[in-house]
């Protein structure tokens, strides 16, 4: 199908200033092909969150364009865009706002009009993909942090998104939960854009990385190469953990 040659995400010349005048993006160009897993790296205040909020049209109106699978992000097709772009926010407590896991996962598809057995099936499938089926009727706050994050991933997977956007997926996770989440993310056949400070995690999961700094894409290349470039890393306030050698372990796909 010709559609598969259309990139999952195409950002062109995106610039944005907040209403208070603070300008966060100064012309971002970024293309993510279908099925790619890309890490979005950058220091605090680089504009990562601002960029993410443009991907599903929560922020609009600056200069430039965002296109998701060939569909421009615009008022007219916001509902479709929000179905195609699944954002997993940093704090799962913000994302899981319904009284039970099942209802939370069902929220998106139900808002899109799905009902009855189809809805049930979709919810079950999404929970199975993150290994949380047996927790369907539990309230989110009775789950561990790692479990909550997995449910948060399920709440967007259930929409069968074109691209999965994860904001700091590994933050606050213990090593075991971190590993489990990595396994889940690797098992998904979906385009992934992962915003993170966790450089080893980026190297482990994403063959390609881009560095966002001062509102523009400052570097774009294989994750291993970027992390090995000491000067680039220093310039953009990115630091590898002590004793970690990015050249030793190649990214897996």
């Amino acid at each position: 199908m010709s559609l598969s040659f259309v990139p999952s995400l195409d950002v062109r010349g995106l610039a944005y200033a907040y209403p208070d005048g603070h300008q966060a993006l100064f012309g971002v160009d970024l293309t993510v092909e279908r099925g790619e897993r890309v890490a979005l790296l950058g220091p605090n205040g680089a504009g990562k969150t601002t960029l993410v909020l443009h991907l599903n049209g929560i922020l609009t109106g600056g200069a430039g364009t965002v296109t998701v699978a060939g569909l421009p992000v615009a008022k007219a097709n916001l509902a479709e865009i929000r179905r195609k772009v699944g954002i997993v926010f940093q704090d799962p407590d913000d994302q899981l706002f319904m009284p039970t896991v099942r209802e939370d996962v069902a929220f998106g598809p139900a808002a899109a009009g799905l009902r009855g057995p189809e809805l049930e099936a979709a919810v079950h499938k999404a929970l199975a993909r993150v290994g949380m089926q047996e927790y369907a009727d539990r309230p989110p706050h009775h789950l561990s942090f790692g479990q909550r994050r997995r449910v948060a991933v399920a709440t967007v997977l259930v929409m069968e998104p074109e691209i999965l956007v994860l904001d700091e997926p590994s933050s606050n996770l213990d090593p075991a939960s971190r590993r489990e989440l990595a396994d889940i993310l690797r098992s998904l056949d979906v385009t992934v854009l992962m915003v993170t400070h966790d450089l080893p995690y980026a190297l482990e999961l994403c063959p390609r990385a881009v560095v966002l700094s001062e509102g523009v894409i400052a570097a774009d290349g294989p994750t291993g190469d970027l992390l090995a470039d000491d000067e680039l890393m220093r310039e953009h306030r990115l630091e590898l953990p002590f004793g970690f050698d990015p050249t030793r372990k190649p990214a897996t796909r």
Binding site: R82, F89, D94, P99, G108, A111
Partner: protein, 253 residues
Amino acid sequence: MGAGHTHKLYRHGHSPVHRMPPHCKLVAVLGFVVVVVSTPREAVWAFAAYAALLGAVAAVARVSPWFVLRRLVIEVPFVAFAFLMPFVVPGEQTRLLGVEVSVPGLWGAWNVLAKGTLGVTASVLLAATTELRALLLGLQRLKLPPLLVQIASFMIRYGDVITDEMRRMSVARRSRGFEARGVRHWGVLAKSAGALFIRSYERGERVHLAMVSRGYTGSMPVLDEVTASRAQWCSAAALPVTALLILLLGWTP
């Protein structure tokens, strides 16, 4: 109160009362309490009959009387008020245990105590046999404005999260050697309250973003509907109808 949101009053069980649809229970309890409140206070034995009715419900629901009694503590401030009545209310005086008390005052105290206690008991039985989630569904089914039900469910979902944050702040204060002992320390506590408000409000904004990202446009999809059969309505009506019969039959000469 210190109850957080972990619905402390709920007693897990599978009794017929537990299984009854929540909106039937809400209507039944409200009807019962209205009858109780409308009963003239001189009908002492009617109150005894009401108490027996509630005892029967508690027995069917397998809620221990001890549990109900403990919850009556909530009434204490008004019990104190009731005990003052015989001494402050003007009117015909009588001697009770060697103390001058007023007759209308005694009646007033009895009235408040009897009705208040029956009301609290009925509410406790409702709360003890109905899960949080079911209560919200029941309110929704009773045509409370949907927005109000949404607000209530957000309050329930995040009450716990916010209380936890408050507890962590308190631990942090005490870890640094601060112990609130008197009015002098109110400033520090108020700062915590202010910080808590900011956190709550900002979380509300983040939750809103997460909702919009998943297709929310202002109304919640209705996922679960509770329904009640005629038989269930009839069994729920047993409580208020019996109470009403007691009220009516009581005075037929």
